[in-house]
């Protein structure tokens, strides 16, 4: 695995995955790009005519939805990080022989479908239920206040459903931290907090980056949580794309909006990576 290896090795390693993605992802994306530059509607058919206007229209008409998606996804990622980091830390450092079982428990909610677990949450957070009751009594909600059908519910839903995607990469990175480094720092008179901040946290940075990506990126495109847990005021870009594509049958607009979403998210990712320092995140430390 050293650089003395032949030049072909990386390409050989990439080949199988790239063939798969090349055929089953790139080609469909090409179709999507072609569609995004068409005009027309369902009854009259669609024609390709370099309709760049679709993109301009997407950005102007749905800018509110785009910002909302970024806000919700960002909030959800942050909360998932706050909940997920200690959990991942605990599993990595204290899990012992139970690590794999604990990780399994983390993704266990996925065995029952999204719809069923959302219904379960709705049962818990319903207006007439205990949780809302307590919040009303305690004054956090007024007498007709509710948790469901609010932006809180939507963000909570997104957070819950993407939490495993934050926990697992964090775990991957934390598990690798050599405990002896932490011990060494404490030997050198660092407090536990300092040892954590100066040793563990920086070493887990690749995991933080990975977890953020795996949470934020899909969350930005999410639509189900807003549909089931929100009102029209909470609808995200994903809802618009879903609606344009399935109901209005405006395929070109849906496609163009998809690309706008994709570019926005990718730009944000690049900025984030720059912020954290790309070399540490994506390349082998030498």
């Amino acid at each position: 695995m050293l650089h003395r290896r032949s030049w072909a090795v990386p390409y050989l390693l990439l080949l199988p995955g790239f063939l798969w993605l090349g055929l089953f992802f790139v080609v469909p994306i090409y179709y999507l790009a072609v569609t995004s530059l068409q005009t027309g509607d369902f009854s009259q058919g669609y024609t390709f005519d370099w309709a760049v206007g679709n993109y301009a229209n997407a950005v102007t008409t749905y800018s509110e939805h785009l910002f909302r998606s970024v806000r919700y996804a960002g909030a959800a990622t942050l909360i998932a990080f706050v909940i997920g980091y200690p959990l991942a830390y605990w599993i990595a450092f204290r899990g012992g022989r139970w690590k794999n079982l604990l990780l399994l428990l983390v993704i266990a909610p996925f065995f029952v479908t999204y719809l069923i677990r959302t219904i379960a949450w709705q049962t818990i957070l319903t207006d007439q239920g205990p949780v809302v009751g307590v919040l009303r009594d305690a004054g956090f909600l007024d007498d007709t206040g509710r948790l469901l059908a609010t932006s809180i519910a939507v963000v909570a839903g997104i957070t819950y459903n993407f939490l495993p995607f934050m926990v697992l990469p964090l775990y991957v990175s934390l598990e690798q931290v050599d405990k002896r480094l932490v011990d060494a720092a404490q030997d050198l008179y660092a407090s536990r907090a300092q040892a954590f901040l100066r040793v563990t946290l920086p070493l887990s940075l690749p995991g933080i980056f990975a977890g953020t990506l795996l949470t934020f990126i899909p969350a930005a495109g999410d639509f189900v949580n807003a549909t089931l847990l929100g009102t029209p005021a909470q609808f995200m870009v994903g809802n618009v794309i879903q609606s344009r594509f399935l109901v209005v049958l405006d395929y070109p607009q849906a496609a163009a909006l998809s690309f706008v979403l994709m570019s926005s998210v990718l730009v944000l990712i690049v900025l984030f990576a720059r912020l954290l320092g790309t070399e540490k995140l994506m390349e082998q430390a030498r």
Binding site: L21, N100, Y160, D187, L266, M282
Partner: protein
């Protein structure tokens, strides 16, 4: 190791500091357990409602306790098959995606090749593409290739969107990987292949396992892309979403619970088995 030296040089702490340390030590555990409970609360509700006894077809409010659904868990035709299909596809897709993704991660992290920057970047794109348009485009492709939609097209689609997730997960591990171990192995005469299988692979195994879990979870829960490319195959999410229109029977809860328990049970058995093996190895030593 360094413990003897460590205890000598570590400063003695006051009782208060030790108490604080104890509280802090446990606070992490408490927090983590709460977080885990948060993740599993819906499962608790789901298990509970599998014992519900609604007179109608909807399973929304608690009506009474019964084990009826548990006595005929596969009573609803199509439900068992849907779950079986979901699990099979998820198992296969996660294995394939993990292999392909790990290879890509290795290439990206360890080699400086032309197009590396672009590749790094492009790995993100499948994750950010909205499922509805991706599913429809993939369907258009399958139609144009004349491929019949069904089990295998779902499998293909799942591997496709899982690869990126595996790459990102495994890469997090590879980035901080200590090469010196590999170099040591090679210095001791191991060739590249042996080094890889005996040194590298075991060390990144947790990341591969985590990547596989993510891929499995994504696959077993996928709805949108699957619905486009499923043909006549019905997966568990497809069945449930459609059933919700007239009422999700408690058997759905039962099957969900069974799968959860089976997975946990298998993992538990594995842990205990490993434990016994270690005990025996220690005993023998």
């Amino acid at each position: 190791m360094s413990t003897a030296a460590a205890t000598v040089s570590r400063p003695r702490r006051s009782a208060g500091a030790r108490a604080w340390a104890l509280a802090r030590h446990h606070s992490l555990t408490v927090f983590a357990v709460l977080a885990l409970a948060y993740l599993l609360i819906p499962i608790g509700v789901i298990v509970l409602f599998s014992f519900n006894d609604p007179a109608g077809r909807f399973n929304y409010t608690w009506q009474g306790f019964t084990t009826e659904a548990w006595r005929a868990p596969f009573g609803v035709p199509g439900l068992g098959d849907a779950m079986a299909a979901s699990l099979q596809i998820a198992a296969l897709a996660s294995i394939v995606a993990t292999i392909l993704g790990t290879l890509i991660a290795l290439a990206l992290v360890r080699y400086a090749f032309r197009g590396r920057g672009a590749t790094n970047f492009l790995i993100f794109v499948p994750m950010v593409t909205p499922e509805v348009v991706l599913g429809a485009s993939l369907l258009a492709l399958f139609l144009n290739l004349g491929v019949a939609r069904g089990f295998w097209t779902i499998f293909i689609a799942h591997v496709m969107f899982n690869i990126s997730f595996v790459v990102v997960t495994v890469r997090a591990r590879l980035v901080g990987f200590d090469r010196s171990l590999e170099e040591a192995a090679m210095d001791l005469g191991a060739n590249a292949w042996t080094t890889f299988t005996r040194v590298t692979l075991p060390l990144i195994a947790p990341a591969i396992f985590a990547g596989g879990l993510i891929a499995f979870a994504l696959s077993v829960d996928d709805f949108v892309i699957t619905s486009f490319n499923a043909g006549a195959t019905v997966t568990f999410p497809l069945f449930v979403w459609g059933a919700a229109r007239v009422g999700v029977p408690p058997q759905v809860n039962v099957i969900g619970t069974l799968i959860f328990l089976t997975a946990v049970g298998l993992m538990l058995a594995n842990v205990l088995f490993q434990y016994r093996r270690e005990r025996q190895a220690k005993g023998a030593a």
